[in-house]
């Protein structure tokens, strides 16, 4: 499945949710799948996608929050998996774009990429589902207890859509407005 198809599967099932994307492929795919919706696209801070999402989820317990993170980003900030397990936000889903490679820097392999599912399956209070197609992502998002991680197997080695080099001020202002309920949601 392509990254944007995985993200579209999540968007299908979570209307009105606050989305956060890690740098690179995740940001590009979310921009494409949401028609550049008012989401929190990270242009840097690799390894911080899940941590930012935890902050959003705890600040807005009344909203569903979806973290779209690359597997490389998640590995770089793997300590946040412990925080996910400890904080147990009941409104957070983590969609991992899983291809075992660092797409933004040229497709280099992650070390021990097959360890990710094992680690996730061992985290107390965190649910895990796998998906290999857009309908499977949608089904997993619909059913998984929160907090939950959906491992979405992707196979597109390039940025799938618009540039991930976002304008931070524009992203901040649109997201803050959307999160506060003042801005318009994605189409």
């Amino acid at each position: 499945m392509k990254p944007a198809e995985a993200v579209a599967g999540a968007l299908d099932e979570t209307p009105g949710a606050l989305f956060v994307s890690s740098l690179g492929t995740a940001t590009s795919a979310l921009r494409l799948a949401s028609d550049d919706g008012p989401h929190l696209y990270l242009g840097g801070a690799m390894g911080c996608g899940l941590a930012v999402s935890l902050g959003v989820a705890e600040a807005r317990r009344d909203r569903e929050v979806v973290a779209v993170v690359g597997d490389g980003d998640l590995l770089m900030g793997a300590g946040s998996l412990w925080s996910l397990s400890g904080l147990r936000p009941g409104n957070l889903i983590v969609l991992v774009l899983d291809d075992g490679r660092y797409s933004i820097t040229g497709g280099q392999e992650l070390i021990a990429s097959d360890a990710l599912a094992s680690v996730l399956s061992g985290l107390p209070a965190v649910s895990l589902e796998r998906a290999t197609s857009r309908p499977e992502v949608a089904k997993a998002i619909r059913a998984i207890p929160r907090p939950g991680v959906v491992l979405a197997r992707i196979d597109e080695p390039t940025w799938p859509g618009p540039s991930p080099f976002v304008d931070p001020t524009r992203v901040r202002n649109r997201f803050a407005s959307y999160a506060s309920g003042e801005g318009s949601g994605p189409a």
């Binding site: 840097g44 911080c48 941590a51 930012v52 902050g55 959003v56 001020t169 901040r172 506060s180």
Partner: protein, 184 residues
Amino acid sequence: MSSDHAPVAAPTRVPVLDWQADIATAIRGADVGAVAYVPDARLRGIVEALAGAEPEVRTLTREEECVAYACGHLLAGSRAMVLMQCSGLGNCLNAVGSLCVPYGIGVPIILSMRGTLGERNPSQVPMGRATPALLSALEIQAFPVTDPERAGATAAGALELAFSTGTCAAVVLDASLGGGREAS
């Protein structure tokens, strides 16, 4: 199995120093919703003074994670801040430089100094010595506290600055305030 891995019994509580209580009061007065924290001896009294009421204190795994967590909170409309030891500043430079600064997110950081007056651990010295330069390189204003009487007002001012202007601000707690590892 799980009981085998539960934390050992909690250590004895430490007395909260007046300046630590004053900083906690400043944090509460600024309507902070969450404090992200990586443990440090000098900060411990602040956390103990915050116990039992808002804001929530979150002990996370790394300083970079604390900064990112606070950024998520702030962008979603809730005030958050970070407490860390200066040795952790190096762990979070990229989060500050590629998230807080470009996105204009004002995260207040209370930094407990190691590696300066009275330090006995050689491994703490280089990062302590580098702290002012690291903050300066990212254009983060640093507000040192050496006089315990000024701790509360300095923290309150830094919180206001960060939240109102969208720029990070650091309150730098000098070793002379006590409560840290140097004395024990």
